[in-house]
């Protein structure tokens, strides 16, 4: 499946979905005008792909600077999807990057990760 690459804007994240390598990245800002319009189709594509995996190694990196509450709902869905993928016998790693000192972003990652049991979760701090 072809790699999906969308450059970030002031209000939407850089998105890199390497389906063949099963490496996925969301990075930057996320407070789109219409969350469903930006994420809806992408989530569907990702979900279709992940649902067909067996015995694969999957890595998803969240590297947000800021995301709004509507995006939080999308992030929660992504975590659910990744957990389901892990539960079906895939090795799934979720990396949550946050700037040093950004307690809010760190805590958000911790909260979302409470639903992960089969998927591995890493909180990764980077210099602010």
């Amino acid at each position: 499946m072809e790699t999906l690459h969308i450059d970030g804007t002031d209000r939407t994240p850089t998105l890199l979905f390497e389906f063949d390598a099963n490496r996925y990245l969301l990075s930057g800002e996320s407070y789109p005008e219409d969350v469903s319009e930006f994420y809806g189709g992408l989530l569907g594509q990702l979900s279709d792909h992940l649902n067909g995996l067996q015995g694969a190694t999957v890595q998803f990196d969240f590297n947000f600077i800021y995301f709004n509450s509507s995006t939080a709902k999308v992030v929660m869905r992504l975590f659910e999807l990744l957990e389901q993928t892990a539960a079906r016998g895939n090795r799934v790693t979720v990396n949550w990057h946050h700037e040093e000192g950004d307690d809010n972003m760190r805590e958000m990652g911790g909260e979302f990760s409470e639903d992960l049991h089969q998927a591995h979760f890493n909180l990764l701090s980077k210099p602010g």
């Binding site: 002031d10 209000r11 407070y31 005008e33 969350v35 800021y66 709004n68 509450s69 509507s70 939080a72 709902k73 929660m76 000192g101 950004d102 307690d103 809010n104 909260e111 602010g128």
Partner: protein, 185 residues
């Protein structure tokens, strides 16, 4: 308004610690533009980075709230045939003693006030753990009827408003009430 009227108006705003004030159509373009300006302003003031981020977040949630729910609006066709709806609101960003704040005001339907009041009172009564739990269950649940976003905007505001938040209603006429929320960080 001329200079001799604008100056006292301007001084009145400044005296109240108001850094920035906007009244009128609140659009996505306004959100983007003022949002960038707030970031720059906070950088120039050498504000704490996390305070600046928090303030920006309070701003985004409140502005999106006005864009989605203000009932004071005007609609009209664009040259391409589509219909544009512009919603009105009032934004104030300022500082009171050592707290920054973001406040927004907009018209709501009087019939929606009771529910809004109840929801906000509930959110206000919760501590950080309670807010965290409500945020989580709301994200997991179905979007409430009539909500265009995730329905978690006010909870997010309460979580980010480390120095508290206030809300208020004042009746305008039989059908309309003016609503405001002011969040401190």
């Amino acid at each position: 308004m001329h200079a001799h009227e604008l100056l006292p108006f301007r001084n009145g705003l400044t005296d109240q610690g108001i850094i920035l004030c906007y009244n009128g159509c609140i659009t996505e373009e306004i959100l983007t533009g003022i949002g960038a300006t707030i970031k720059h302003k906070m950088a120039v003031r050498k504000a704490d980075k996390q305070v600046a981020k928090g303030l920006f977040s309070l701003f985004v949630e409140q502005m999106q709230n006005v864009i989605r729910y203000s009932v004071e609006k005007e609609s009209g066709p664009l040259p391409d045939g589509s219909v544009l709806t512009l919603r009105h609101g009032l934004l104030v960003v300022g500082m009171e003693s050592d707290r920054y704040f973001v406040a927004c005001g907009n018209m709501v339907d009087k019939k929606d006030v009771a529910t809004l009041h109840k929801n906000l009172n509930h959110i206000k009564s919760l501590d950080q753990d309670g807010l965290r739990e409500l945020f989580r269950t709301t994200l997991k649940g179905e979007t409430p009827a009539g909500s265009l976003g995730a329905g978690v905007g006010f909870i997010d505001i309460a979580r980010r408003a480390t120095r508290g938040f206030e809300f208020d209603f004042t009746d305008v006429n039989d059908g309309l009430t003016y609503f405001s929320i002011k969040a401190y960080i």
